[in-house]
Amino acid sequence: MRKSRIACDRRRLSPASPIKRRRSAPILAIGLLLCLLGGEAGAEATGDHSRFTLMRVLLWLEATGAQVTEVCTQCHNEAQGQIRSTIHWGWEFSEPRTGRIAGKRHILNGFCGGSESLTDPDAANAAFRHSCFACHVSYRRGSTPGFGSWGDAPGPKHAPVSWEALPWSGTGWVSDPWEDEPESEPEPGPNSPSQTDPGNGNADNQTTLAQDAAIDCLVCHDTTGTYHRGPAQSAPMNLIWIAESVGRSSRRTCGNCHFYGGGADGAKHGDLDSSLIQPPREVDVHMSAEGADLTCAGCHNPEGHRLPGSRHAMLARDRDGLDKPSKHYQSHASCESCHGVTPHAERAAPYGARLDAHIDRVACQTCHIPEFARGGVATRLWWDQTSTPPRMVAARNIVPTYRFFNGQMHYTLKSDTIDPDRPVAINRIGGSWQEENARIWPFKVVRARQHLLQEAEPTAIAAVDVQNVPNATANATANATATGNATANALGTSDSYSWMWLPWVWLTDFLGWAPADDSSAQSPVSPPQPPPAPRRTVIETQMFWPITHMVAPAEKALRCDDCHRPNGRLAGLPGFYMPGRDTMPALDRFGLFLVLFMAVTSGLHGLVRILWRRRR
């Protein structure tokens, strides 16, 4: 039965399916039925993990997460290098157009912390599972042979994952899994992603080996739905069963992290929450079983563990259209890759053609995601982390904010200089209506009031003028310091700011992650000296999240009136004429005058005619 389930998953994700999706639907249904009947007919997998004897033996000897990884990589021996090159491992992203290094590690964050775990100790386990701390695809490395505290597990068969098995201990990035990346890593340029070549010659490096074993395969490849990275006290798991059942990722495995970002279900993205695990068709036509029943990887189609379609650099306008077997084939992460560039052609002419005429300026998402957070899960819009207890505003069914977007997000980095007296843009949207590749996109805007910890001693970190990031070139980082200094002076302050979020400190304090913890003693990296007491500043932040999931059925898409009216959804987009939205005040006044003049003149003329005739 297990095996069949895996096979089902694979069939669903067959690479040919995006193009022939409609035709393959009956086949999928039959396959699914066969799977449910427990038959072998639907099986396409060439390997059955539950029958790999060596794997079972090794896991019976020592069932730890790291041991699972050791066993996996015996056969999948390119996987480690691939994982280490991805954003899932590095939390680092090279902006292709500017060369700036962004990613979770470097950008600011209006959500970081997980304050639920502070206010509600009973909820600590759940909150922890759902917080960003649980979501790095690694175990803690450094100790042998169990890579962490796996040895404390109650038994080899039922080894719970310990939260200590995470890359962090103490306050900050003490056992940072990236710290020991080889120095030879090529400097990312504008055209070369920061990823290192998978499986490169660093395998001899002890650090690399340790990192290999620290990769958590199961968090993405669990098909049982029982694997978790919660604290040791939470539900025990049968790691062997989980390992035997590995398969392709699912909405659930991806969602374990991506649905719960920001510390609660749906808090962060707005278009990603637990309602997408089994969504009704109205919530998401693509992921619904009544619709295409796609998994995340159906669109974010991985190649060598690299997933296309990161929000850090999006394809705001896909001119290529349908994916054909080509060098672009791996990326289905645009609507056009499945629906083509004339997606409304089936509609009656001329209406379909009129809709198609929009897609050079309007992203598909703009009309087809009329509201986000439609699955019944509220998403966070405002978070005051400085009040006690933290105050939040969360809502469902939210009308997005619309902006022209060329795919390039400009993130403010932790190393950038900011003006704490003004609302800080965590990211800004690249693009304007004049740009050919920019289209109107929907966004969630989230605001927060949070603590900025200003370092007592200014450091010589690079700083970039927040206001001028769009102009940043590939050399931005190199030139940044000079620009930043100038800006700092202009802002009337010469301080640099280091970004540490207070909730983070609270959380680590609460969980007892003190640097003196024995876990840090196990770490080969010595903990950094505690920084001098920082100065707290309260700042306001604002962040834009592109909305691209929760695509509604076609009949629920926006109508013309939603935008082509004076107070429509695009009322706030300036700069260009839009029929129905924009009036021409001068011309309208003139026209009204002309028409009224004509009417009044005619009326008076007629009145005089009638009166005169009577008098006669």
């Binding site: 029929p579 021409m584 026209g591 002309l594």
Partner: protein, 200 residues
């Protein structure tokens, strides 16, 4: 009074079809513009587009008719008696004077009508039609068009044309009441026969 056959069957068909289309285009157009709100944008734009094509068909037929029948000669402008007609419209019509212009099948239009219709047909109609087609095919503009024109220009021209047409329409409807009786000109445009003074 004598009955005179002034407006042929095609002429009347053309006139009334065009009248309905122009009014329909005006209503839907001003709906799209946001001046009035009768339809959804979708309905209005679709109706506007259908009526556009109907109008183009009727215009092509009318142009063909004008040239094959020689009717276009009615629109040759003349300054002869122009002032008399204007004077009549302003003063004489109120005083009960006779119309200085006597209609005949060879001269259907008085000098003022000639001028007004010529302006309508050679300036307002083309202004609306050309700007409207440019508006409709905005996405397909060749480079040499998009170099010099913006959508704002085209929309402005189209809306200006619409206001001029509306003003014309009001004047036209009013002038239709200035016959011998209130509806005699209207009746002529329906039946084709107009009562003209015997003094011909």
């Amino acid at each position: 009074m004598a009955q005179l056959y002034v407006y042929t069957r095609f002429e009347r068909f053309w006139h009334w079809t065009q009248a309905m289309l122009v009014i329909g285009l005006g209503v839907t157009g001003f709906d799209l513009h946001g001046t009035i709100d009768l339809f959804s944008f979708e309905q209005a734009s679709e109706l506007h587009r259908y009526m556009l094509w109907a109008l183009i068909v009727i215009w092509i037929m009318a142009i063909f008719w004008h040239f094959t029948t020689g009717e276009w000669r009615h629109y040759i402008p003349t300054s002869k008696n122009l002032w008399e007609v204007i004077d009549y419209c302003a003063v004489g019509i109120v005083m009960g004077d006779d119309h200085p212009f006597i209609k005949s099948p060879r001269r259907k239009l008085n000098p003022l009508q000639r001028l007004v219709y010529l302006v309508l047909k050679l300036m307002i109609n083309p202004l609306i039609l050309i700007s409207g087609l440019l508006y409709l095919y905005y996405k397909d503009w060749p480079a040499w068009v998009s170099q010099d024109l913006t959508l704002t220009d085209v929309a402005t021209a189209h809306v200006l044309g619409a206001y001029l047409m509306t003003a014309y329409l009001i004047g036209h409807v009013y002038m239709a009441t200035t016959g011998h009786k209130l509806f005699s000109l209207l009746k002529a445009m329906i039946t084709g026969y107009e009562e003209v003074p015997d003094r011909l």
